[in-house]
């Protein structure tokens, strides 16, 4: 089965779709392993961006001229593409935002401010990115809500028994990451959602890391909100999505004023537009939204299951190879992981590791990965993280291993 899947993707051919990969860094061919931060963009996506600016740049929704019509149609076609990608029931459930962080803030500020009150409890997890911690802390401070945290075990998996203990009729909101950016852990979000719904809580899933690796179906998950970022989907930066169930979005107040979110304005009163426009104040990121459709089509063309199989193959290979290095400890050994491998080297600072790998043309991420509480849980200041995308190869993993041997030789 594994080999059948491998033959379906010609990685060398795929690499040619990503012009940025064909370059030397510090005299060596670039190895790009910082995909969890952002992945690279295929030519088709880059062309979609320039195609808009060269061909039909216009502000959308209100123009009556040809270019405005064309831009509006492309923009809304992207919304339908995202709807299909997430299997949302209604196109109105797809809100364009600036990214996952922006989407989470929208929910915290709009839903949270309207519906949460003093004493209500919000549950997040130890492995949240700061962007799924801070908006809730801000809300708790403002409204007097209480933040509770699901702990993780030594393998880097959420302890579901502890989660169940945290749940009660006081739990009003649960916000949890689908896939950990630091550890690669895939969380059992369906179980998390079902258990939260059983006590009447509303659930947001942070899908920033999950979206390019896993099949997503917000209806099957029964997620109330799902947040993601386009730049982690082979799409452009500064553009994200908030999925929300229609009835929830309808009940929420807009949290930014101006532009398309308005139905009618008088100095006495303003009435708001319908969803999704109610939440899309101002001129949106038109080119980037349009290019998202291209990114989704690109992924669909490769087949998401093929991408996942290839990345899983790389993860297994990298785990085996890295485990052979003396003094290397992998942080996060969950049974269910996607292509992220985080590790520490005995006696070597992660920053030094990153610098010396960079000098060998290998791009990794080092530090706390905006998950400081998780690092504290493991008693470390940070890790070195290699994260994979569809265009990465086993040869590149070998380069990483050689690079790390060089780091150890230099430092120890």
């Amino acid at each position: 089965m594994q080999s059948a899947i491998e033959t379906t993707l010609d990685i060398q051919q795929i690499r040619r779709d990503f012009p940025i990969l064909d370059q030397q860094v510090n005299g060596r061919p670039l190895v790009y392993f910082d995909n969890a931060a952002t992945n690279q963009k295929p030519t088709a996506v880059i062309n979609a961006l320039t195609g808009y600016y060269e061909g039909y740049n216009a502000n959308i929704h209100r123009g009556i001229h040809y270019l405005a019509e064309k831009a509006t149609a492309a923009f809304e076609a992207s919304r339908r593409a995202v709807q299909e990608f997430l299997n949302a029931k209604h196109w109105q459930e797809i809100i364009f935002t600036h990214g996952t962080t922006d989407s989470i803030n929208l929910v915290a500020q709009s839903y949270g401010r309207r519906f949460l009150k003093e004493g209500d409890e919000i549950i997040i997890s130890t492995m949240e990115h700061h962007s799924n911690i801070v908006p809730w802390q801000m809300l708790c401070e403002e409204k007097g809500c209480i933040l509770k945290v699901i702990p993780v075990n030594d393998a880097g998996e959420l302890i579901l028994e502890e989660y169940e203990k945290l749940l009660s009729e006081r739990t009003k909101f649960v916000s949890c990451v689908h896939v950990s950016n630091s550890l690669g852990t895939v969380n059992p979000v369906k179980t998390i959602i079902d258990k939260a719904h059983a006590v009447g809580a509303v659930v947001l899933i942070d899908g920033a890391q999950a979206s390019s690796h896993l099949d997503l179906d917000v209806q099957a998950l029964d997620a109330d909100f799902y947040a993601l970022s386009a730049h982690k989907l082979y799409g452009p930066t500064g553009m994200g999505v908030l999925y929300g169930k229609k009835e929830l979005l309808d009940s929420m107040p807009p949290y930014r004023g101006g532009g398309e979110m308005i139905k009618e304005v008088t100095f006495a009163k303003t009435t708001y537009n319908e969803i999704p426009y109610k939440f899309e104040a101002g001129t949106p990121n038109i080119a980037d939204v349009i290019a998202v459709k291209t990114a989704l089509e690109y992924m669909a063309g490769l087949g998401k299951e093929n991408i996942a199989a290839h990345e899983n193959d790389l993860l297994q290979y990298a785990t085996e190879q890295l485990s052979e290095l003396d003094g290397l400890r992998i942080i996060g050994q969950a049974k269910h992981k996607i292509g992220v491998i985080s590790f520490v080297l005995d006696g070597i600072h992660h920053q030094d590791t990153g610098v010396i790998l960079d000098q060998q043309g290998i791009a990794v991420r080092t530090g706390h990965h905006c998950t400081q509480p998780l690092m504290q849980r493991f008693g470390i200041a940070g890790t070195t993280r290699a994260s994979f995308a569809v265009y990465n190869t086993k040869d590149e993993v070998d380069r990483l291993v050689q690079g790390l041997r060089r780091v150890q030789k230099m430092m120890l």
């Binding site: 600072h349 992660h350 920053q351 610098v355 230099m410």
Partner: protein, 147 residues
């Protein structure tokens, strides 16, 4: 040796290496030679902010009858952060034992000239600029005291 003579000497040493990795190795080795700072000096007050790794710098003014007041620097990093330690070592080599006003006014041209460009940019968040700023601040503070 003046600050600039020391800088020129360092530039010459680094010119011996063509490969970036060899230059980095040299910095690491300089760090290994740096005498450790006593733990009592590794205080929050002496900590350089803006470093991904922990780095401390302290200074002491010593009066020399012949040459007047000179400022001596001590620095260290957390044990594993050897590149940071090496960079502190390099700065100490250039600035330590000099007159406070010379330190305050030093033009540290050796940094772009040693061809560590990529190392420096990688560490830009790592606080090299903060280290330099701290050492110059010591220079300024002691200039006022000694003038």
């Amino acid at each position: 040796m003046t600050i600039n003579e020391k800088q020129d000497e360092i530039i010459e040493e680094f010119d011996l290496f063509e490969d970036q990795l060899d230059k980095t190795q040299y910095i690491i080795d300089l760090g290994k030679k740096l005498p450790p700072m006593p733990d009592s000096k590794k205080t929050d007050e002496n900590r350089i902010m803006g470093c991904q790794s922990k780095v401390w710098v302290d200074a002491e003014l010593k009066d020399d009858d012949q040459t007047g007041a000179r400022l001596y620097f001590y620095g260290d990093s957390e044990q594993t952060a050897q590149i940071s330690k090496g960079l502190v070592g390099l700065l100490i080599r250039v600035l330590s034992g000099e007159k406070p006003e010379d330190i305050a006014n030093a033009d540290l041209y050796f940094i772009p000239r040693v061809g560590m460009g990529n190392l420096i940019t990688s560490l830009r968040a790592g606080g090299l600029a903060s280290m330099i700023e701290r050492m110059k601040a010591f220079g300024r503070a002691y200039t006022e005291k000694t003038v």
